[in-house]
Every structure is written in structure tokens, then in C-alpha cells.
């Protein structure tokens, strides 16, 4: 238990201060692609410098350390409550140490809990894996600015001319990119879910952020749509921070789940450039680190 808490604390520190390699790589490619001596290049250079300083000083990449989302695969029989307790302690300690900002506010009174603990924070998503002997923990910190520009569309959408097909999905996803510009600290990454109900659709869209940026969708139609959305978005001239430029999106990840015959939701979560996502594989009791992910 003590070992588990320490390991989770280190996971939080790394997630807050160190950019995952896959995202860093795409940001570096974007910087090389931008025209020199433009405001777009300035924004990306500043972002790079920021990533470097945060890692060196072990301080948050962005001061908004966001919503704390744990995704955990446990072996069958693994005690989820013990995990939750240890994770809560680790979150409170990480807040005290400044790896996390005090970010949990009572919606009725406006009072900040000061520890990041409270009803609904942090959130846990558990999955049991048969035959597994280790615990796989992934953590996403998602900032408020980018969360605010997420969008959910109900198709058909006559205003956008979007029908219940992949072409319609493409239209609403690109509309979300257009509307998000200048807000949410682009260049960003989209997580998209087609289908589900209003709640599950958004939940699945966020899970797409667990995929490495350079992976490919096993479904050829969705894979083509992912590539196309990134290519088209990067032709719109929105650019980093909405300053204009070539880099509007760093990636787009799409999943599809079943829906009711009456519903057709497309849910889009937007992740800012400060894409904080890390993972760790722990021994079944959580006490030993087997390997770091991402």
C-alpha cells in the first residue's frame, strides 16, 4: 500500500512535468514545418522551451493541471478500493508538493477543497483483465481551457448539412475544429466517439487520448477519416494559438460504438498542446514498478 502510493505519486509528477515522447515528436515536426519568423513559429518555439524548462525544474508544464483521469487495468480479484484510496492519498500529496494545482471546486459554494479531492474528483475508470498479473495504470491530466471547447453533435444536423453517415461525422468534426480556434491552446488533438449515449459518447472520446499519436486505427474507414481530418484542419490556416499557420491539429483519434436507433451522437473532446498522459505497469500489489509507458 505504501509502495503503491509512492509509485502513483511519481506517476503524477511525471505526467505533470514531462511531455510524452509521441506528442513531443509531433510538436517538433510541426515546428520544423512552420514558416520561419512567423507568429506560428514563435508560438511553437515558446512551447518547446516551456516543455524543456518544466522537465528540468520538475514543475507543471502548464499551471492548469486539469482534471485527473485514471484508467486502470487490474487483474481479476484486484482490490479496486485499495487502489482508489492509495491514489487519493497520492493526489493530495502531489497537490501539496505543487505537482498539481488546487483544482477541485465545490460547484455550489465555490469553495476549493485545496487537495484535489472531492465529489467526482479525481475520476477512476477500472477494467478487469483475465489472466493479467500486473496493474496497468494510465493517467491523463486534462486542462479546463481545452475541456471547454469540447462539443457534442446530434445527427442529423441541418444547420451543418450533416447526415447520419461518415460524411456527416466529418462535417461536424471540422466544425468543432473551426469553433475551437484560438481557444483551448492549440495545436491540439481530437478524441472523437461516434455513437453511444450522451454520457458514454464523451467518455469514449476521452479514452481515445490513451492511444499513442503515431498509432493507426485498425478500422480502415476510421483510419482514413482520422488522417483526412488532420490534413484538412491543417489547411485552414488557423495555426498554433489561432495566430494563423500550418499546425492546427497534431492528431485525431476516432472510435465508434453502438447507438440506439433513435440517437446518433458525435462527441469531440479537444486536448491542448499540453497533452499530459503517462502510464506505468505495476506488480499486482502495486509495490514494484515493472515499466513506464509512453
Amino acid at each position: 500500500m505504501a509502495g503503491l502510493k509512492e509509485n502513483l505519486l511519481e506517476l503524477i509528477r511525471r505526467t505533470s512535468a514531462e511531455m510524452p515522447d509521441d506528442v513531443h515528436r509531433v510538436l517538433t515536426e510541426s515546428l520544423q514545418a512552420e514558416e520561419k519568423r512567423t507568429t506560428a513559429e514563435f508560438a511553437l518555439k515558446t512551447i518547446h522551451a516551456n516543455i524543456e524548462i518544466a522537465a528540468r525544474k520538475s514543475q507543471p508544464i502548464c499551471q492548469d493541471t486539469g482534471s485527473i483521469l485514471f484508467y486502470v487495468h487490474v487483474p481479476v480479484g484486484g482490490d479496486q478500493l485499495v487502489f482508489e484510496e492509495a491514489a487519493r492519498e497520492a493526489v493530495a500529496e502531489a497537490t501539496k508538493k505543487g505537482f498539481l494545482r488546487q483544482n477541485s471546486v465545490d460547484s455550489l459554494t465555490g469553495k476549493n477543497s485545496g487537495t484535489n479531492l472531492g465529489p467526482g474528483t479525481p475520476t477512476f475508470h477500472f477494467t478487469q483483465t483475465r489472466g493479467a498479473t500486473a496493474v496497468d495504470v494510465r493517467l491523463i491530466l486534462k486542462g479546463g481551457g481545452c475541456e471547454n471547447v469540447g462539443a457534442q453533435y446530434s445527427l442529423p444536423d441541418s444547420r451543418l448539412g450533416a447526415d447520419r453517415d461518415l460524411k456527416g461525422c466529418r462535417r461536424v468534426i471540422l466544425d468543432a475544429v473551426l469553433q475551437a480556434q484560438g481557444k483551448g491552446c492549440g495545436p491540439g488533438v481530437l478524441g472523437v466517439c461516434i455513437g453511444g449515449d450522451r454520457a458514454t459518447s464523451y467518455a469514449f472520446s476521452k479514452e481515445q487520448f490513451l492511444r499513442p499519436l503515431d498509432d493507426r486505427n485498425p478500422n480502415p474507414e476510421l483510419d482514413a477519416l482520422e488522417q483526412e481530418i488532420v490534413a484538412t484542419s491543417n489547411q485552414l490556416g488557423i495555426g498554433p494559438m489561432g495566430f494563423g499557420g500550418k499546425t492546427t491539429l497534431l492528431g485525431c483519434k476516432i472510435c465508434a460504438v453502438n447507438r440506439l436507433p433513435a440517437s446518433y451522437f458525435v462527441s469531440i473532446s479537444y486536448m491542448c498542446w499540453a497533452f499530459r498522459r503517462r502510464g506505468v505497469v505495476l506488480s499486482a500489489d502495486g509495490g514494484t514498478i515493472e515499466k513506464w509507458l509512453y
Partner: protein, 187 residues
């Protein structure tokens, strides 16, 4: 181009959308609470004439009796849209720093009173904190709490882009219009 505070109206009028600037001198932070407070008739015990207001809720810690800034990225500016033009006039501001841009009322205020909106790089909390050389003072700390207080910061080469100028130009409007047009062709 380097902007030294206090900034003259002539200098501000010479700036245009897309210019890169670096601020050296004094900057005051102010966000939701202080805008509402000033709008409701409140006044501050500091003179900001010719100065710069930064939409920022910094992370401050006291080390050996001195305030030190640990992170200082911009916050979203649109929340201050109802108040900003009035605050620019009341305080005699020459520049407002934030992120995400602001609307028509502020744009008109910039034109009338000789002010610009400067966009800092959102999320770049560490780079921007390094430009802050000294925390000179604070007011409204008791009343508003640390993130909402008015911090007086000494900055050196604090980098921003002019995205709204004093001639009615707005990069946000331009990019939105052109990207919308491009998207219509690609749909």
C-alpha cells in the same frame, strides 16, 4: 520590438496586428474578481496609467519572506469582455495581455483609448514565469485570494503577439473569417 513601461500612446498607435513584442518593466495581474470590482465602482491603490494588465492567476509562494512566482500563464480573456473597455479607460491602460482574444466592445475600446490586446502563448507557464524577475507587491490579496489578487510584477522581455490593435484590427476576426471560407471550400 521591445515595449518599455509606462508606454506612450504614440508607441501603441504604431503597433499592428501580427507584431511580436517583448515587454520590459511593470505588469499588473488582474482577472475576474478585479474586473467586476472596478466595474462596480471600486478603485485600486495603484496607478496603472500607461501600464499593462495581465489576465493571469499566478502560482505564488513565499520563500524567505519574498513572494516568488512559480507559474504564470495567461487565462482566457473573453470572460472580461463585458468590463474590459471600461477598465481600459478607467485605469488608463495601454495594453492588456491574455489568451483567446476578445470581442467587439474591447476592440472599440482599444481604438478609442489607445490600447492593444496582446496574446501570450497559452500554457507556457514556465517560460513566462522565467520572464518575471521580481514580485514588487500585491494588493487585494485578502479580498480576492491569491489567483485573483493584483500582483505587481517586474518583467523582462515578456513575449506576446499583438492580436488586436488600436486601429480596429483583430487577428482573431481575420483568422476566423478566412478559415471559415477555406473550410466551406473543403467540405
Amino acid at each position: 520590438m521591445e515595449l518599455k513601461t509606462p508606454i506612450s500612446e504614440d508607441v501603441i498607435r504604431s503597433l499592428h496586428v501580427g507584431d511580436l513584442v517583448e515587454i520590459t518593466g511593470v505588469v499588473h495581474t488582474g482577472r475576474d474578481a478585479v474586473h467586476k470590482f472596478l466595474h462596480d465602482g471600486g478603485s485600486l491603490p495603484v496607478d496603472m496609467r500607461g501600464g499593462v494588465l495581465y489576465h493571469c492567476g499566478p502560482v505564488m509562494v513565499k520563500e524567505d519572506g519574498q513572494w516568488v512566482c512559480k507559474a504564470a500563464g495567461p487565462t482566457t480573456s473573453t470572460r472580461e469582455e463585458p468590463y474590459q473597455a471600461g477598465v481600459i479607460q478607467k485605469l488608463g491602460l495601454r495594453a492588456v495581455i491574455g489568451k483567446g482574444g476578445m470581442g467587439d466592445k474591447t476592440l472599440a475600446g482599444c481604438k478609442e483609448f489607445g490600447c492593444v490586446y496582446l496574446h501570450a502563448v497559452g500554457g507556457a507557464a514556465q517560460v513566462l514565469a522565467e520572464c518575471i524577475k521580481k514580485v514588487r507587491g500585491v494588493c487585494m490579496l485578502e479580498e480576492f485570494g491569491s489567483p485573483e489578487a493584483v500582483w505587481e510584477l517586474e518583467v523582462e522581455k515578456f513575449p506576446c503577439v499583438v492580436t488586436m490593435d488600436s486601429h480596429g484590427g483583430s487577428l482573431h476576426k481575420d483568422v476566423f473569417a478566412s478559415s471559415k471560407e477555406k473550410l466551406a471550400k473543403l467540405l
